[in-house]
Point group: C2
Chain length 270, copies 2
């Protein structure tokens, strides 16, 4: 089954547009995990197990693993999710972007080594830097369009012939790059007006929306701006607000409660 089909099925069977972002920061782990050699894996695994029926996807952020030499724990985590959370796709948030021959190596890393179902990719280097990921027909390729950080406007807001650069990227991906139906876009929740602009441009293309919770994006405005006609089309990411909802041994229960709340809040506006 392709990433796109798995995602659509997960929206439905879990009745959820929530994506839980797995950004493990050992400094914020509960005391009993600190110092354990596989603490990162243990922490993320517990969060995944506690929220698997509440989400449409998981999104580990590779930087948080790489900073701690924890590539093996990331491999184990994704294998665990595939084995124990059937039907929930894994997006590896890596924001890669390089010339074709190098992108082929990254595609091996992301899809063959880590066995992720989708990857986030930076569009700055153009179509041929994206093709090596599209060469895996079952995988999803999620292009950065409008990012949620303050500096996102530095380039993405530039006027390119009467539209903004992020609108041009949305159009390019929807009309030219997505010939195989594998593409999606990243559009930050901090700018609901821009989510609805992107939705107008791209039809039913899935949107990955970071920025609610710690980054301050508003859930109601995000859902109303980005939902498709059937009340889906969104992967609304929350990381810190769910991962660190609890601070002690019951952190997974606290994460589950926070995920239930967020899922329900999202569903109220679908």
């Amino acid at each position: 089954m392709t990433f796109t089909d798995t995602l659509a099925a997960a929206w439905q069977h879990n009745n959820s547009l929530l994506c839980v972002g797995l950004d493990p920061d050992p400094a914020k782990f509960p005391a009993h995990l600190k110092g354990k050699t596989d603490a990162i894996y243990e922490f993320c695994k517990s969060i995944a197990d506690a929220t698997a029926d509440l989400v449409c996807c998981f999104k580990p952020q590779i930087a948080y693993f790489a900073a701690h030499r924890a590539e093996d724990q990331l491999e184990a985590l994704i294998a665990h999710i595939h084995a124990n959370c059937p039907g929930i796709p894994v997006i590896l948030d890596a924001k890669r972007g390089d010339i074709g021959s190098t992108a082929e190596q990254y595609a091996v890393e992301i899809f063959e080594r880590y066995r992720a179902d989708a990857i986030t990719v930076n569009p700055y280097m153009g179509k041929d830097s994206v093709d090596p990921y599209l060469a895996y027909p079952d995988k999803g390729v999620i292009l950065l369009c409008r990012t949620s950080n303050p500096g996102g406007s530095d380039l993405q807001f530039l006027d390119v012939g009467g539209k903004k650069l992020y609108e041009h990227v949305a159009e390019l991906v929807a009309t030219k790059w997505n010939t195989t139906g594998q593409c999606a876009l990243v559009v930050g929740a901090t700018f609901p007006g821009e989510i609805s602009r992107v939705r107008e441009i791209v039809g039913n293309l899935p949107l990955l929306v970071p920025g609610i919770g710690a980054q301050g994006g508003d859930v109601e405005a995000t859902v109303k701006a980005g939902r498709t006609a059937n009340g889906a089309g969104l992967m609304i990411n929350s990381s810190r607000a769910i991962l660190y909802a609890g601070k002690d041994e019951n952190y997974a229960d606290a994460a589950r409660r926070a995920a239930v709340e967020t899922r329900d809040l999202i569903n109220r506006y679908r």
Copy 2:
């Protein structure tokens, strides 16, 4: 010593603008290395040792290590270069780009774990996505500007108010992002006219120029377009043409001969 100062010293003491790109592809290794568990390290180490007096920097490409679970070999390689090739900075070609909190993790990965002297970064997410790298005052931050691949034009050639996007990025980096003198730019050798345009915009900012050799860029045109008044300012990268100049046990000697030739060819036009 900062990356920028180390680079300037290396241009001078090695009388070279050559950057050797370390993109290890085990399928192209000489037969006697195949199957060895540390073949990637061994191969790159021999190339570095054989060319250290001919280059101004080394540039390992992280994708080639990550695709083979060879992070430990990359760490060992950079440690070896620091110990055995004094005065030669190491650029880790990783083209990272993410929001501040994630970029902080990447900075830990690149500068603390791998101990690279500089990193390549994608500018699409704007200034605050670059700041966490600039927070390491001795390190270099090399922003993608005009890339050497065919699809580079998809976004970089868009007109933004009378100039092209890559020109805008060059201007932004030179006038606003480079307040601490840590920045450089990537400008592909496949477009010499654009190298000279970038040189006009950025003054003496160092330019990392991939694309000669396998990608077809012309050395004479590249050097004439990009050199500064004192005949420096460039890191001209060659990877495949040097790494795979020989196919047998004498591959390091063959790489050295190819590096001498390339360095001399570059110097002819400085």
